[in-house]
């Protein structure tokens, strides 16, 4: 290569422009995200509610099973499991679909010059709509197992915003990497599945931490290193009327900042390559 011309004079600027330009096209991804949901209503009576129902059935079954196994009151464990499932579905949806976000949209990427972020915003928006559907399960649960809710329940709003912000950078970063290295798609999906068990969704972290058995208590402390735990806690605690810990918020905020910073580095370097790779 001789006389290498600088292809991108302002790569940072372009990475930011991609995010901002995608945001300006909210009508497009807003419409597409809705359409993805409505697609599920078509030719089926309950549509996306099916996803909610199947999630609720799994959560209730696992709740009953683990309440028996651990000897915990159903009234304590079931709300814990249900809310955990609702949040986990969002997280795993963003990561699993994020790993294919550009691969799945190959046709659009090659035919229409839209910012890459459009596909990511559509994904996160769709997951938020699913989240809203699944939230019905929580509301129904409140009727059966009333929780000691206080005004702190409002903390769930910034918590969901943070969750969505993180879903966006994860999908963007993972999406770009998997477009280049297709092996990462199945790896990502296996890791997500594994993390379901490693994250306190069907088990209660604090019960293990206060276990009489010091070996268990010791091991439970390791769960703090699991980033998903902190995301779950900032949403689950307010929704179940429990006291909140500042450290979960701090960790989530730190992950948001660091994650976006890393994603911007990836965007700067590889954004323009995605249409070549898909």
């Amino acid at each position: 290569m001789t006389a290498l011309a600088q292809p991108d004079a302002r790569p940072w600027r372009k990475a930011v422009d991609d995010l901002a330009g995608g945001w300006r096209q909210r009508q497009l991804w807003g419409h597409l995200g809705w359409q993805d949901i409505r697609q599920r209503y078509r030719r089926s009576l309950l549509g996306p509610i099916w996803i909610t129902i199947s999630m609720a059935v799994t959560a209730v079954a696992l709740g009953i099973l683990y309440a028996g196994l651990f000897g915990i009151e159903l009234a304590t464990l079931l709300p814990h499991v249900l809310v955990g499932f609702v949040v986990w579905n969002f997280i795993s949806g963003c990561i699993a679909e994020g790993s294919e976000v550009f691969i799945a949209n190959e046709g659009l990427i090659k035919h229409l010059p839209a910012p890459l972020s459009v596909h990511v915003y559509r994904l996160v928006w769709r997951q938020l709509l699913f989240f809203a559907h699944n939230f019905i399960v929580y509301l129904v649960m409140l009727l059966v197992f009333p929780q000691p809710l206080r005004w702190t329940v409002l903390a769930v709003i910034p918590a969901v915003v943070l969750l969505a912000l993180n879903g966006a950078w994860v999908a963007l970063a993972v999406g770009i990497i998997t477009t280049r290295f297709r092996d990462i798609v199945p790896i990502t999906q296996s890791v997500v599945q594994l993390m379901f068990f490693m994250t306190p969704i069907v088990w209660i972290y604090e019960n293990l931490l206060n276990s009489d058995n010091p070996a268990i208590a010791e091991r439970a402390r390791l769960a703090e290193f699991n980033p998903f735990l902190h995301f779950l806690e900032i949403i689950r605690r307010p929704l179940l009327g429990q006291d909140q810990h500042l450290r979960h918020w701090v960790v989530v905020l730190a992950i948001t900042v660091v994650g976006w910073a890393l994603t911007m580095v990836v965007m700067r370097r590889y954004r323009s390559r995605v249409s070549y790779w898909v």
Partner: protein, 256 residues
Amino acid sequence: MSVSESTNGPVSITTKDACVDFPIFDARSRSLKKTVMGLVGGNIDSAAKVPVIAALRDVTLSLDHGARVGLVGHNGAGKSTLLRLLSGIYEPTRGVATIRGRVAPVFDLGVGMDPEISGLENIMVRGLFLGMTRKQMQERVDDIADFTELGDFLRMPLRTYSTGMRVRLALGVVTSIDPEILLLDEGIGAVDAAFLEKSKQRLVELVARSGLLVFASHSDEFLRELCDTAIWMEHGQIKQQGELDEVLRAYKGQHA
């Protein structure tokens, strides 16, 4: 993305020594394993290097408001890749491409169409993809419905349509927009003769509305109708650029 948002200023496309090189990842070179092994085992140059196809080389052109450019060349000469470079889908791997204005690319009539939703909904989605707003599309829906002559079928899911009906719908949407930069790839076929005549009229009007047109086609007749200048692509390079007739003569002359 080098595509700026809707600008009120004059539209233009300029490229300087723009190259588009495609990395060809076969199953082996695409995998992480190969890359990691390549790094660990040394011998990076031959093991980790990915074969590259130079689809476009040193493309330098400058198109301004009012340009009506035809694109000719053999299959595989780089016409479609050039259109994608000009639309901003591919950013040049070397060189520069600057695009001012909102681009409406019409490369494939089917892209962005969803078979499960109705024709009317597809009109909206396709319009949004082409950079229109919801409101603008709502205003145009009746006009498009008239043009397509699909009547009540517009309420049916797209999967019930025949190929020709899909083309009608797609053409109806595409020709209803107000593009600043219009990039047309050929492949507008599969409609009956009467409809073709009708869509030609709309196509001409669409081109008249657009600020800048680049049209890739094998049809001299269509090219003469829509363009005044032309670019002849060969082996990923611009072979000739100039008046339409002149370029066409040279291009055809080479065949004879």
